[in-house]
Each structure stands twice: as C-alpha cells, then as structure tokens.
C-alpha cells in the first residue's frame, strides 16, 4: 500500500503469469533475438501502413501472452496500454480487436511501467483477476511523426536514439506461477529545460535518478537489495549522466548492477547511435530478456525504471522544453517472496 509519498507496496503480490514479446527485422538481427516470442522479417507485417503494422504487433503480443497462459481471453478484465503515435490510435485499434475493457495511457516510453504499476495496483486491490498490460512502438511510424519527412534523409546527431519496432505485454494475475510485482514508485515530471529531441537520454536521466532515489528512500532499502536496476531507454548518454547524478546523490549503485534496455536490445555495430528507445524498448527487454533470466534463476530481484520524454512534435516546434518522467516497478522471483 502507499508507502511514503509516491510508492505503492503490493502486499498481495500480483503475479506476471505470462508475457508476449514481438519484434521486427532489426530486433531479430539484434542482441537478444531468442528472447522474443515472435519475430517479423518485414516492417510492414503485411499491412498497408506502419501504424497498422504497430497495431498488429500489439495484438500479437497480447494474443501470445494469453496463449502462453492457461486462461482464456474472456477471463481478462482489462487491457491497459498506450503508445507514442497521435492519440494512441494503434493501441486503441488493437483494443478493438482484443475486445476487452480498455484503459488508454500516454507516458511515451515510460508507458510500459506505468501500465504495469496500474495493473498491479488494480489486481492488488482485487479490482480484477487478470489484466493485460503492455505497450508497442514502430520505428517507421515514430520517425514519420517525430522526425523530418523520412524521405528527406536528414542527418541525425550521435546523441539520437533508434525507436524499437515491437510490442511487449504482461498478463498480470492475482495468483499463479511467475515473477511477483512487489512495489512501484510513480515518478513526477522533471523538466531540466532541455529542448533537443535528439538527446532524449540526456533529458530523461534526471527523471530516472529522481524516481530511483525516491524509491529507495520511501521503501527504506538499499540499492544492493536489487540484482539489477534496469532503466528503460537512457542510451549511452543518459546512462552516463544518470550514473554521475546517482553518485552525486550518494546512492552506491555498482556499474554492473545498472543496465539499460536501450543498450541491451541491439548488437554492437547496428547503426542505432546512442541506443534504442520507444515504448516497446523497455517492454520487450523486460518481459522477454530479463524475466527469462529471472525464470532461469539468474536474477531474483529487479527494479525496472522506464523513462519517458513527453514532448510532441508541436511542443518542439514551439521551442518548449521536454518534460520527462520515470516510473519504477520492482519485480521479484516467485521463490523468495
């Protein structure tokens, strides 16, 4: 329950009973292809627009999560999800296909943990038995909306990041086998006045640090409590800045204990500049890679801190700074909680 000012501790321990992760061709060629349930070799997914392709990714992630569990889709009460595209239409169209009551969210790349925290809260309060919680992004759809006309081929600086094509979904339940969601810290908007949308890692780092620091303070635990502290998509630049800030704030986090989904999903040599980003980044890497490692017994306690840059193309054109947020959710293996 509420601990401190912005942290929930879930006494009833909601369980992630299954997950679904879907990726595109660039992800198939990346660092963790075996952690995806489904990989596509075509950016279009046989659809006639990139937005429809993104919708398909989300639908497939949800269908996979349900298929891997022992329950039927009709037993799921809510679908809690969102994405980057204007008015989150790919998610809403996917919700139409999935056909279960739906909460639409927007927290950009922090949507993954925002939806997981809210799902865990509802399950913990026994407001539902099963909730599908996930998010999606599509590289070409995001480029179309946030960058120049893509045909123009405008140059990107080395601080820019690569939006993941994929979708990740977790099926959260009251009980069952699987990793348990133990707490969540809801971040607040941190705005350091950065206006460059090609340096989102740098813009988001202070938000990540604020949420991490608050989480430890409010839960009254030490960073050594977790095997890994996993940030969403800070990339090379944001990771370095946040490590510096964490040190300045007196938090002793080891470098090898602090990993970033945006630096995990792709191989060295893929042209992703400062790393990966996009709502699907933290979703597929957490629900695929890190939960698989937890199932293998590699990891017991992780804190996932999904970071979001909440600007729009319009706010950037009007020279507004980038409002940033980070939400943290702690996931612990079933055995020791």
């Amino acid at each position: 329950m509420l601990t401190g000012h912005q942290t929930w501790v879930f006494n009833n321990k909601p369980v992630i009973i299954s997950t679904g992760t879907v990726g595109g061709p660039f992800e198939a060629n990346g660092n963790i292809p075996n952690d995806f349930d489904l990989l596509h070799d075509d950016m279009w997914l046989k659809q006639d627009s990139f937005e429809k392709a993104q919708q398909t990714l989300m639908e497939e992630a949800c269908q996979t999560a349900v298929k891997k569990s022992s329950i039927e889709k009709e037993q799921v009460q809510f679908f809690i999800s969102g994405d980057l595209i204007n008015q989150i239409t790919p998610t809403s169209f996917a919700a139409k296909t999935i056909g279960i009551p739906y909460f639409g969210l927007f927290n950009a790349c922090a949507t993954s943990m925002e939806s997981l925290a809210l799902s865990a809260m509802i399950i913990n309060a026994k407001g539902a038995n099963y909730i599908l919680s996930g998010t999606s992004s599509h590289n070409a759809a995001a480029e179309k909306q946030f960058r120049y006309p893509t045909e123009y081929g405008g140059q990107k600086p080395p601080t820019a990041q690569w939006t993941v094509t994929g979708a990740g979904c977790a099926l959260v339940a009251q009980d069952g086998q699987g990793p348990k969601i133990t707490s969540a810290t809801i971040g607040k908007i941190i705005d350091m006045g950065i206006t460059d949308p090609f340096n989102m890692g740098g813009a988001m780092a202070p938000a990540a640090v604020h949420t991490i620091e608050t989480h430890f303070k409010e839960r009254n635990i030490d960073p050594s409590y977790y095997d890994l502290i996993i940030t969403g998509d800070l990339g090379h630049i944001g990771r370095e800045i946040s490590l510096d800030l964490l040190k300045k704030r007196g938090l002793s986090i080891q470098e090898n204990q602090y990993v970033d989904c945006g630096l995990t999903i792709y191989r060295e040599g893929q042209p992703v500049l400062a790393g990966a980003s996009g709502p699907a980044c933290s979703a597929v890497v957490t629900y695929g890679h890190f939960l698989n490692r937890m199932k293998k017994g590699d990891l017991h306690r992780i804190l996932v801190v999904a970071t979001g840059a909440l600007h729009s193309p319009l706010s950037i054109q009007q020279n507004d700074p980038i409002p940033c947020i980070a939400h943290a959710v702690s996931i612990e293996s079933g055995s020791d909680v």
């Binding site: 279009w44 627009s49 070409a140 120049y148 123009y152 405008g154 140059q155």
Partner: protein, 117 residues
C-alpha cells in the same frame, strides 16, 4: 590540376558551413538548406558566385548554394530582355533541369517503391 584542389576545398568549405549550422546553431535540415540556397542567391546578386564557379568549378556548382545562384542568374538574364516579366519566367529557366529531374525521378521512385514515409 589546381581546379581539382580548389573544387575540393571550396566544396568542402560550403559543406562545413552547413554542418556547423546543423551542429552548432542546432538548425534543422530545412532551415540549413534554405539558408544555403538564399546565401547563394544573395552572393549572385552581388555578382560574387560566378567568379567562385570559375575558380572552383564543381566545388561551387554541386553544393545547394549553386541552386540559389541559378535562380537569381536566370531571373536577371531574362529580366534584361523581357523586363519585370522576365524575372518570373527566368527564375526557373536555368534551374529547370534540376527541378524537372527531381519530379521525374520522384515519380519513378514512387512507382517502384512504397512512397509512404
């Protein structure tokens, strides 16, 4: 032989200016392009771009500044024979090859590939 050297230096210098506009002044590619085209036009207005072409050859004709130069050059030439109307008709006279090529190859590209950004 020296024309190759100066083409390399002048063409490279124009590109350095473009890169500085992008990286230091943080302009977007559209703004950078517009500034370079307008600069070429202004330089030709003062009669400075043609000497640069004589000096550096393709180093001055290949960068986008040359497009601004061509716009003004065509307009001025036509204005001399047809007056004010010539400014309108002449503007695209020298540049018509570039513009037509952009349209024609754009259409061909669109027919072959999926033109949805």
């Amino acid at each position: 032989m020296m024309i190759f050297f100066w083409a390399f230096v002048v063409g490279g210098a124009i590109c350095v200016i473009g890169q500085l506009l992008l990286d230091v002044l943080k302009l977007n590619p559209g703004q950078t392009l517009t500034i370079l085209v307008v600069s070429g036009a202004i330089l030709d207005g003062f009669g400075l771009y043609e000497p640069l072409i004589d000096f550096a050859g393709a180093g001055a004709t290949v960068p986008i500044t040359s497009f601004g130069n061509s716009l003004v050059h065509g307009a001025m030439a036509e204005a001399e024979t047809h007056g004010l109307v010539g400014v309108v008709t002449g503007m695209f006279e020298v540049t018509s090859a570039g513009i037509s090529a952009a349209i024609i190859f754009g259409v061909i590209g669109a027919l072959i590939f999926k033109p949805k950004g």
